[in-house]
């Protein structure tokens, strides 16, 4: 649940942060942390890595808060830093990501053992499919699906033309569609 933060309050907190007020910056972090960690989690596919990437992102944000231009959406600025931090962490990490804790979190009691196993497999496949996407396409897709940014905002965050955003999203979704064909059929049959 995100705490409410009015535009005036946010602007005030930004000014104070730029003046070196750590408590004000802490307030901003408290507000944006759930969104940022969600985005970097979708980039990394692993909770521990995501928390590290989020820490790294907010550290960088603190170091460069003076360069933030007031009036721009802080969320988009943070997403840009967060995506870069996540990519840096992934590049530093050479080995294959470990199995994510999310898979252990599927509640067996509510689904039953068999359904829980199927759900785990489905999630694992989804995460694998996400990881198989090229970084550029994955960044655009994550910002769209989990960051809930418009195409124009994604273009601004990733510093690419809007046409490139469209082609990257199209590539990413079509690639996932091929990989997840079976799941899609199953999901569609469930909807019917």
């Amino acid at each position: 649940m995100l705490a409410t933060l009015t535009a005036e309050t946010e602007a005030d907190l930004i000014i104070k942060s730029q003046q070196g007020d750590r408590n004000a910056f802490g307030e901003l972090v408290r507000h944006y942390y759930p969104r940022v960690v969600n985005v970097v989690y979708r980039m990394c596919g692993e909770a521990a890595l995501a928390e590290d990437a989020a820490q790294e992102a907010f550290l960088r944000a603190w170091l460069h808060i003076s360069s933030f231009r007031r009036g721009e959406p802080l969320r988009n600025w943070l997403y840009r830093i967060a995506v870069n931090a996540a990519l840096d962490i992934l590049r530093r990490r050479h080995e294959e990501p470990a199995e994510d804790e999310t898979l252990q979190m599927i509640p067996e009691q509510s689904l039953g053992p068999e359904a829980a196993l199927i759900e785990k497999e489905r999630l694992a496949l989804l995460q694998q499919a996400m990881r198989s996407l090229p970084e550029a396409a994955r960044s655009a897709l994550v910002l769209r699906e989990y960051g809930e940014l418009s195409y124009q905002e994604i273009a601004s965050v990733l510093d690419i033309p809007i046409g490139t955003v469209m082609s990257r999203l199209s590539y990413a979704r079509n690639r996932l569609r091929e990989v997840l064909k079976e799941q899609i059929l199953q999901a569609e049959s469930e909807y019917v």
Binding site: G26, V29, V37, L59, M166, N174
Partner: protein
């Protein structure tokens, strides 16, 4: 139209198509079953992605507390590079402003040293300490070589006015030669002395700096 549809369908799905383009896609979807199926599959992919659960991350309060601790540690660590930056020697551009006064001071000191040396040699020569060598130090010639050659060859044919003019040129030449040769060797002596001083300083400077810096590090 189906060729361009993948990109357009994604944009349509995301609500990023407007006006005429949106109407065209909607019209196409009515008549094209394949594109309708594609759109449905893309929508399902999007739904699957959004429905994927997230793990229980660190609570925001704990995350912020950890972050503030790291900020404090980082700020403390940044103090060292900042101090190192402050203690770094100034850039060449910063030296440019000092070049003119430093150059003038150096030139003044250079001339003063030469004059002091000249005075000392003159005093030594006057008191007879240099003996025959005094003439060499102070420039003992009274006639230039070219003057001797001209007067020996054409001296008998020259008028009195020509001889006096030639004599004047000879005096100027001898004076200039004495001045130049006297200045030149003294300048060489001064430069050699300064070079030796500079070499001594650069060899000893690191040790001197360490000795003076040691107390401030404790």
């Amino acid at each position: 139209m189906c060729e361009n549809m993948p990109t357009l369908l994604n944009a349509y799905l995301d609500g990023e198509l407007h006006g005429q383009r949106r109407l065209e896609v909607e019209k196409h979807l009515v008549s094209c079953t394949a594109c309708r199926n594609d759109l449905q599959e893309l929508r399902t992919v999007s739904d699957l992605l959004r429905a994927a659960p997230v793990p229980a991350f660190l609570p925001a309060e704990r995350f912020v507390a950890q972050l503030i601790l790291r900020l404090n540690a980082q700020d403390a660590a940044l103090q060292l590079p900042r101090r190192a930056l402050r203690d770094r020697p100034p850039k060449p551009a910063a030296w440019a402003g000092w070049l003119v006064p430093a150059g003038l001071l150096g030139a003044w000191f250079f001339l003063r040293t030469i004059f002091m040396l000249t005075t000392a040699i003159s005093a030594a020569d006057a008191s007879g300490l240099l003996g025959q060598a005094g003439a060499w130090f102070t420039g003992g010639q009274s006639q230039a070589a070219w003057f001797v050659a001209i007067t020996s060859l054409f001296g008998s044919q020259m008028s009195a006015a020509q001889q006096s003019t030639l004599s004047l040129f000879n005096q100027v030449s001898v004076f200039g030669g004495d001045l130049f040769s006297g200045f030149l060797w003294q300048a060489v002596v001064v430069l050699l002395y300064w070079g030796w001083l500079a070499a001594w300083w650069f060899r000893r400077a690191p040790q001197l700096v360490n000795v003076t810096a040691a107390p401030s590090q404790s």
